[in-house]
């Protein structure tokens, strides 16, 4: 116990001073509230910032994908310009006009052949082979082997008609000039010392149907 320093404070707490002790529980509540406030705010902020970062990452990825895709689209658009597509359309239109599009076209071709052969005193018999698809994936184009057997008849009674050889040349060249694509791929001509007796022409008829959508 030193000099004049107080030995002890009051033991019996007055009412007002005892109120100072009571807030100890309030102190803890206050501290708890502060901790909850700060921790809650921090946790909330972290959560929102994390979500923001996630969204920003998604946005960046989307932007990157769009940039890449835009470049690809631009490249595709540049690759097939409008004029080029029209040109291809026209070419395809022309190509389709040269194809046998249906049975009627084939029958028409046979009729036309006979109409050309008869005046030339050629008896034409046509037979078709097995159809060969030309582009198997789409089965859009096919080749029909057609064999035309020609029996060369005698000239008319007036004798004004051309020789069998000339008539055969005329018919074969006429067949080659047709609009529809009929490739003359084989020709066999037989005859004697005087004249042509028979001929066999093998043509590849190109047929085509509209591509399936």
């Amino acid at each position: 116990m030193n000099g004049s320093e107080p030995l002890a404070s009051q033991v019996n707490q007055p009412k007002a001073t005892s109120q100072a002790r009571r807030p100890r529980s309030w102190d803890w509540l206050f501290r708890l509230a502060i901790v909850i406030l700060l921790a809650g705010s921090a946790a909330w902020a972290c959560w929102r910032l994390g979500r923001l970062e996630l969204l920003q990452r998604q946005s960046r990825q989307l932007s990157s994908t769009i940039t890449r895709l835009s470049a690809q689209v631009d490249e595709l658009e540049g690759k097939w310009a409008r004029g080029q597509a029209d040109e291809i359309g026209n070419q395809l239109k022309q190509a389709r006009a040269r194809l046998f599009s249906d049975q009627a076209a084939l029958e028409h071709w046979i009729r036309a052949l006979k109409e050309q052969a008869e005046p030339l005193f050629l008896e034409a018999k046509t037979s078709f082979g097995k159809t060969v698809p030309l582009n198997a994936a789409e089965q859009e184009l096919a080749m029909i082997p057609a064999t035309i057997s020609l029996d060369v008849g005698p000239a008319d009674e007036t004798g004004q008609s051309a020789s069998p050889y000339r008539r055969l040349v005329q018919l074969s060249q006429s067949l080659a000039r047709q609009e529809k694509r009929a490739d003359l791929v084989e020709m066999t001509v037989e005859g004697g010392t005087n004249s042509v007796a028979s001929a066999v022409l093998v043509l590849h008829l190109w047929a085509g149907v509209e591509a399936r959508p």
Binding site: M1, S4, P6, S41, G89, M187, G191
Partner: protein
């Protein structure tokens, strides 16, 4: 012999930075001194005596108004009829045991009804047992003082008995370590006495029954009784002198000296009406017998600290909430961006698919068109048939013609004989004619590459090998036929075979 006291010592200075309302409430006389940052800004004295503690709140309010005090703390130097000092011998124990003993002593020594608030300070013991000076105050009175402050929005930082101020005065006296002096001061008309030793120990504190103004003779008598009491009760002899503090102390000291053998001096030469209130400012509440517990003294600091912490926490929380709001707004904007970008991405993907399909379709159509329009082979057989009429010499006749499209070329096979109308040809004539025909075919528009017999045979083998196993059969037949040689080949026949590009 004249006794004097150092004036204006270093200990008398008001601590700089101290802001408080120092109140001396001495036996009903209420005086207040407003101090702001160590500087006295105003004083106020209540006329008349008020001893009722219930009036403390009103007195304090008026004091604050009159002095212009805007601080928060109040320091009270108190002399009250119910504030008493007792000298108590205690056994040499410490801690809780000492507290219990002191508590028991408080119950025995108190001279009022009800609970007591108390505070002790060490004293000097003539025996082996320690001795303390115990200051006792009714707890209800202290409670009133505290509530009075609280009602005015202030905190009571210290409630000090006036003995403490008087005892502090003794430290400025020219005392040796073993010297013992008596100090008497006027405290609101009454006289408070403190006996103190040179080493700083307070031996006694009491209030005399007579008033300060009852006259020198009465005061001298009371002082003599105190001196005798000290000698008889505690065996302490006051050997250094007596110091008086208060109004008219100089005259009173001279008069008292006439009745006492000990030298009498003036303790506070610069005494003025607010002397005690000013003295209270020089006492350290933590080192003085303060009725306000350290816990209560710290309450305001704790509250300020709590307010600062709360404010800082709220600011931090507000900052975090602002951050959350900002992040939420940004997130909403990003979500909107993502929605826009997703929509754009879908459109782009659809456009890409459309373009890819278009590209595939156009590519296919281009391929089809090219195949149909550009790759059409010319009607070479028809042309060749017509050309024969020009190139076959008159002495030859072609009986067989075969033109066939192969992979990259046309294969031509001509067969015929000599013109019968001309007659039987010699081999040389036939050979010349055939050679001429071959030469014409090799030139001209078709540029037929005439194959020799070996080339024809090789080509024939090649064709046979290219076929399946059944293709070998004609080879066997041909070889057998070649071996049999049934009939010689006719000499008027020819065969020409060639390739056209």
């Amino acid at each position: 012999m004249r006794l004097s006291i150092a004036r204006g010592g270093r200990g008398d200075a008001i601590p700089s930075g101290l802001t408080t309302l120092s109140v001396s409430w001495l036996n009903g006389q209420f005086k207040a001194l407003a101090v702001h940052r160590g500087v006295v800004r105003g004083t106020w004295e209540r006329t008349g005596d008020i001893e009722d503690a219930a009036q403390f709140a009103a007195l304090l309010r008026e004091a604050a108004q009159q002095t212009g005090y805007h601080g928060q703390t109040v320091t009270l130097l108190l002399a009250h009829p119910r504030l008493a000092q007792q000298v108590v011998d205690v056994p040499p124990v410490k801690g809780t045991a000492l507290q219990r003993i002191l508590q028991r002593q408080v119950q025995q020594q108190k001279i009022f009804v009800g609970e007591a608030a108390w505070v002790c300070q060490n004293s000097l013991s003539g025996k082996s047992e320690p001795r303390v000076v115990m200051h006792l105050l009714p707890a209800a009175l202290l409670n009133e003082l505290l509530l009075g402050c609280r009602r005015n929005g202030m905190d009571l930082a210290a409630v000090l008995p006036v003995c403490a101020a008087l005892h502090r005065q003794s430290r400025q006296l020219p005392l040796g370590k073993g010297d013992i002096a008596l100090l008497a001061g006027e405290t609101g008309g009454l006289t408070t006495v403190v006996v103190s030793r040179g080493d700083g120990h307070m031996l006694l504190g009491r209030t005399l029954p007579g008033t300060w103004n009852d006259g020198a003779e009465r005061l001298a008598m009371d002082l003599n009784r105190t001196i005798l009491f000290m000698q008889q009760k505690y065996g302490v002899t006051i050997n250094k002198g007596i110091w008086l503090s208060g109004s008219g102390a100089e005259d009173l000291a001279r008069n008292v000296q006439q009745h006492l053998q000990l030298p009498v001096g003036v303790g506070a030469p610069g005494y003025e009406p607010f002397y005690w209130a000013r003295q209270a400012l020089t006492l350290r509440p933590s080192q003085s017998p303060n009725f306000i517990s350290p816990e209560l003294q710290m309450r305001r600091q704790r509250r300020v600290f709590a307010e600062v912490v709360a404010a800082a926490s709220v600011l931090v929380a507000l900052a975090l909430i602002s951050l959350v709001v900002y992040a939420s707004l940004q997130a909403r904007q990003e979500a909107a961006n993502i929605a826009v970008l997703s929509d754009r991405l879908k459109r782009l993907q659809a456009r890409q698919n459309e373009l890819q399909q278009l590209a595939a379709r156009l590519s296919h159509e281009k391929q089809v068109a090219s195949l149909v329009l550009n790759d059409r082979p010319p009607p070479v057989p028809a042309w060749f048939l017509g050309y024969l009429s020009e190139v076959v010499p008159a002495e030859l006749v072609v009986t067989n013609l075969h033109v066939q499209r192969e992979e990259n070329c046309w294969r031509v096979r001509l067969a015929g004989g000599y013109q019968p109308a001309i007659g039987n040809p010699t081999p040389a004539a036939l050979s010349n004619a055939v050679s001429g025909l071959s030469a014409r075919l090799a030139n001209g528009p078709f540029h037929v590459k005439i194959l020799t017999e070996a080339e024809e045979e090789k080509a024939g083998q090649g064709r046979a090998q290219a076929g399946d196993a059944a293709g070998l059969i004609p080879t066997w037949v041909a070889n057998v036929s070649r071996g049999i040689q049934a009939k010689p080949a006719p000499t008027d026949r020819f065969t020409i075979e060639g390739l056209m590009r």
